[in-house]
Amino acid sequence: MGAFGHYLSGHFATFRLEFWSLFVGGVANGFLYGMIAVGYTLVYGVLRLINFAHSEIFMSGGFAGYFVMKALIGNSVPSGAATIFLIVLGIVVGGTAGALVATLLERVAYRPLRRRNAPKLAYLISAIGASYFLFNLAGKEFGRYSISMPQPYINHPVFHVFGAGVQLYYVVIFVAGVVMLFALDRVVATTKLGRSIRAVAQDAETASLMGVNIDRTIALTFIVGGALGGAAGFLFGLGTGVVYTMGFVPALKAFTAAVLGGIGNLRGAMIGGLLLGVVESLSVVFVQAAYIDVVAFGILVAVLLFRPTGILGERLGRAA
């Protein structure tokens, strides 16, 4: 025991000390992962495939938000109503950009293959190609360096949870995440669009016999998932800055979250996102920061091997 026990007890002391501040950061990350993960899960529901290019939808939201912030924020940091307006505007613009890229993606990389009833391997390869094309195009047009986003507020702790300060940035993510995820949940559960998404996810052929327009539903699913992904891209960029490769790691983690919650399961993706965010954040105490991505990947492999249906199970096409 000796040295190792000492090592562990030392780390546990840090763990106790840092728990709440890490927890808060983890929940914020978790909301972002959840918002990206629902995009994976929705598309998986209707098409039965993983949208490999979802990371670029996220990236486009980040860049769109960046350009709006850059255009509207001058030298002085806005406050009050202006801050709220800018954040909402950023989310809307990021979401619009994400939805736009998702639509284009569906039109160009998926629909021709769907028309031909192509094998799934072709979809995967086409999506990977689209992803590479998009982020390298962004790198070419917008430069290949990370840019920090002009801030619409002065970041400061708003309130405290067990002594841990909750930054304004986190509050923004909490509010935006809760509102959007709740709205999505209601849309899928109660509206006509949600019903057609669920119908296509359950059985596309029968749904089309019942008068559901499959092409339209798939396109709208991409738009909904893309809007949330794009909005998450803006929120992520607000804290971390934007760069053409920004989508890769968050999207890989969001995918892990989607699998963790059970792919195709909307609430599963949200819960999986939160869980992954918190676990990953707390693991900082035990592993070096450089290996954080390894933790998420380890969770992914473990879930796939031991419980491939996720925590809540795969539930395609049911009202979450």
């Binding site: 990389a109 192509a118 086409s126 590479y132 998009l134 430069g143 390894v294 796939l304």
Partner: protein, 447 residues
């Protein structure tokens, strides 16, 4: 208004226009963080002379191209079928001739002689290093990945990890890493070849045995993550790999068999021949493998895993085998790269190169050894040419943009590749017609 956009001619023309403008953007000048619109402005409104005939702006040139594309497309819709049948008829005789065995063997012989004489034919320092570092190594990697993607039908997005492991094994065996070499020896890279291949195959088995049970799309993500993890470890384990600083200098291999004595040096051409020898060995082995018991088992699993299992094929065993065999070429390529470039850096084993190798396989034709070699040569020559004489506005990272676009275009128009394997093409056609069970493993929609 709606009727106007529904008009097939309008739709076709606007599609042509969009594609051409996208090409204009891709080939245009780059933008930057400070001037994010510079790329767009330069792509469309930059002055450009049309072969000196008249001066105009770029978008006019591309608009003209769109009209040409529209005309060609319309012409193809009218006459395409007859052109295609004429071409098939005209090509029937040469096709039949190349099918004959003696002709095939002599063609292979000619290709081999050309490959042997290539450094003499193209006597240029840049192309000497290009044909070793860019073309030779990547052809080798592509043939290896073809075993995994083409033969066994497994999408591996972390192939470059095996390449990295091979390179780091070389550095380790030659005593160039912070961690001491086995038995504190400083082995020759030649000794590292078998060791690297074995280690890489073991890594393939270790990664494959648990993960190859997974569905194909999950496997793609897991291998993608594996590739990233290997880079993260290489970057951060300072005490073992030297971190981002890379390894120490790696010695060049020395051949010493009886009277034969040769020392490799920084010159690329001797490495080109070394690669060529091993490439031929791997190509022969893989084409024998394709029609062996193992190769047929791969085909069976790829086409219908359930049926294959019911006739006594253990899918997991053969999938792991494909993984390990595919990895072995990457291990060897790693040895050559490490000793030729004298150093190993984590930054040379990025996800981008994994995708690059995947494009070579897809472009040439999954499962077709000949196709993959030809496809890899075409793409890598194009890449080297762009590196050698970059057109205005081209940055070397733009390559991946073109490769990504190429993947999408290939999947839409020619999913079986440039020179398709006949079996693979038939599988795709059958699957599109709703027959056969290909890909059920991938989607998990087992009946």
């Amino acid at each position: 208004m709606r009727a106007f956009f529904r008009n097939p001619f309008v739709r076709r023309f606007s599609l042509c226009f969009l594609v051409v403008e996208l090409v204009a953007l891709m080939t245009g000048p780059p933008g930057s963080t400070q001037a994010p619109t510079a790329g767009f402005r330069g792509s469309f409104f930059e002055a450009s002379s049309f072969y000196g005939l008249f001066r105009t702006q770029r978008w006019v040139v591309f608009f003209a191209l769109a009209i040409i594309m529209f005309l060609v497309w319309s012409g193809w819709l009218n006459k395409g079928a007859s052109i295609r049948s004429t071409a098939t008829k005209a090509l029937a005789v040469p096709r039949a001739v190349t099918q004959r065995r003696p002709v095939r063997w002599s063609l292979i012989g000619v290709a081999l002689i050309v490959a042997l004489l290539l450094p003499r034919i193209v006597n240029d320092a840049f192309w000497h290093s290009a044909m070793t570092e860019q073309i030779g190594v990547f052809v080798l990697l592509a043939t290896g990945l073809n075993v995994v993607v083409g033969f066994a039908g497994l999408l591996d997005l972390g192939y470059v990890a095996f390449y990295a492991i091979g390179a780091y094994t070389t550095a380790w065996m030659t005593g160039s890493l912070p961690t001491p070499a086995p038995f504190h020896g400083h082995f020759d890279p030649f000794v590292a070849i078998p060791v690297a291949i074995v280690i890489v195959m073991v890594a393939g088995i270790l990664l494959g045995a648990p993960t190859l049970r997974l569905r194909g799309d999950y496997l793609a993500i897991v291998t993608l993550g594996f590739g990233e993890i290997v880079t993260i470890f290489a970057n951060n384990l300072y005490g073992i790999t030297g971190g981002s600083q890379g390894s120490g200098p790696i010695p060049h291999p020395v051949l010493h068999i009886g009277p034969l004595h040769y020392v490799w040096s920084l010159k690329p051409v001797p490495y080109y021949y070394l690669l060529l020898v091993f490439l031929v060995i791997f190509l022969v082995a893989f084409s024998l493998l394709e029609h062996s018991r193992i190769g047929r088992a791969w085909t069976a699993i790829r086409e219908d895993e359930v049926a294959a299992e019911s006739v006594g094929i253990n899918p997991l065993k053969y999938k792991v085998m494909a993984f390990a065999i595919g990895a072995s070429t990457a291990g060897f390529a790693g040895v050559v790269t490490a000793s030729q470039s004298n150093n190993v850096f984590p930054s040379s084993f990025t996800l981008q190169s994994s995708i690059n190798i995947l494009v070579l396989v897809i472009f040439g034709g999954m499962g077709s050894i000949f196709g993959v070699v030809v496809g890899a040569i075409i793409i890598q020559v194009a890449y080297s040419y762009l590196l050698h004489t970059p057109p205005q506005g081209y940055q070397s990272a733009d390559l991946y943009m073109y490769l990504g676009a190429l993947l999408v275009v290939m999947m839409i128009f020619r999913p079986s590749g440039l020179i398709p394997s006949r079996r693979r093409k038939r599988e795709i056609v059958l699957s599109e017609a709703g027959e056969g069970h290909m890909d059920e493993v991938l989607t998990g929609d087992t009946p």
